[in-house]
């Protein structure tokens, strides 16, 4: 199997694999130290020459370059043969990756996952959110003349059309907000001068 470009995608696929085969799937984290990043002999020769040049140029700081390392994470299920991999060389990613191993560990242990809870919360929020927008629309339509027209229009129309109506309203609000923002920018510039 190929390597994933994004660790997020690796995490998602691994969670799915663990969901399907929680008892046989294993996650291997391999930290490899290596002083060569390529295996071709030409490249090695070129690198050696470069290093020699560097060492002759900067004799004062002739210490050997810091060894390079890479971190490979692999999720493997021997029963189905599925193998999901991700590779990185950045130290900044280590902490996040190990903590995501912990998340997957929750799946392995058959504990309720954080993501499940988050999805459940999102579902509740959506259910609450839709009637909220309708209420907002109702308030807006009672406001001015144009609002009253909107009310008359929406009553015979289908739900999808009412949604577009709300979108237009929100856009209008966004525009006014943008105006205010630009005003703020202007003030900032004046302050600088």
């Amino acid at each position: 199997m190929p390597y994933y470009e994004a660790s997020q995608e690796w995490l998602r696929q691994s969670a799915l694999l663990l969901e399907a085969r929680p008892s046989t799937t294993r996650i291997t984290t391999a930290y490899h130290l290596t002083n060569k990043t390529g295996s071709s002999k030409k490249r090695q020769m070129r690198r050696q020459q470069q290093q020699e040049q560097l060492q002759t140029a900067t004799a004062a700081t002739a210490s050997s370059p810091a060894p390079r390392a890479s971190l490979t994470i692999k999720t493997y299920d021997p029963h189905s043969g599925t193998c999901l991999k991700y590779r990185t060389t950045k130290a900044a990613e280590v902490s996040r990756l190990i903590l995501s191993l912990g998340q997957l560990g929750r799946n392995m242990a058959a504990l309720p996952t954080d993501t499940d809870a988050a999805i459940a919360d999102a579902g509740v929020a959506e259910e609450v959110g839709t009637p909220g927008t309708e209420k907002a629309e109702g308030r807006g339509s009672t406001g001015g003349n144009t609002g009253a027209k909107g009310q008359i229009q929406t009553q015979p129309q289908t739900q999808t059309q009412t949604q577009t109506h709300t979108q237009v309203q929100t856009q209008g609000q966004g525009q006014t907000g943008g105006g205010g923002g630009s005003g703020g920018k202007g003030k900032k510039k004046r302050g600088k001068k």
């Binding site: 294993r26 391999a30 130290l33 060894p67 060389t89 950045k90 280590v94 560990g105 058959a110």
Partner: protein
């Protein structure tokens, strides 16, 4: 070899990472999987659904660490193998410490590159100075 306690495992893992520090080759391999050996699982009631998908209670996790040596080195007793079992309740605490140790142990990875951002900031300040 029997399993170590979590604290002993962490202590030996630090040693393992320290032994790899300053070397230009070598590897450290960490593995985790559900501990299914010797664990009571109910008999499958239905052939279509495997019994391990929804166990009645959470299962522990097995964590292993080795220095990736084999064959000749194994004979010379150079292979290091560590393993520990993490109870389901102590998973979050374990992984917090685990992440901290790994972050410190994997010191040969590329550090965050700050030189670019600094360069940009300098450029910005220069242009600002010229316009003002």
């Amino acid at each position: 070899m029997g399993h170590l306690s979590n604290d002993e495992f962490f202590a030996k893992l630090v040693d393992l990472f320290d032994s790899a520090k300053g070397k230009d080759h070598g590897s450290i391999v960490l593995t985790q999987k559900r501990l299914s050996y010797d664990q009571p699982l109910p008999e499958p009631t239905d052939d279509t659904v495997p019994s391990d998908l929804h166990p009645p209670r959470p299962l522990p996790i097995l964590i292993r660490a080795t220095n990736g040596k084999g064959k000749e080195d194994r004979k010379a007793n150079k292979k290091i193998k560590l393993s520990t079992v993490v109870a389901p309740d102590s998973l979050p605490a374990f992984f917090e410490r685990y992440a901290e140790i790994c972050k410190q142990g994997m010191g040969s990875l590329k550090p965050r590159d700050r030189s670019k951002r600094k360069g940009k900031a300098k450029k910005k300040s220069k242009t600002a100075a010229t316009t003002a």
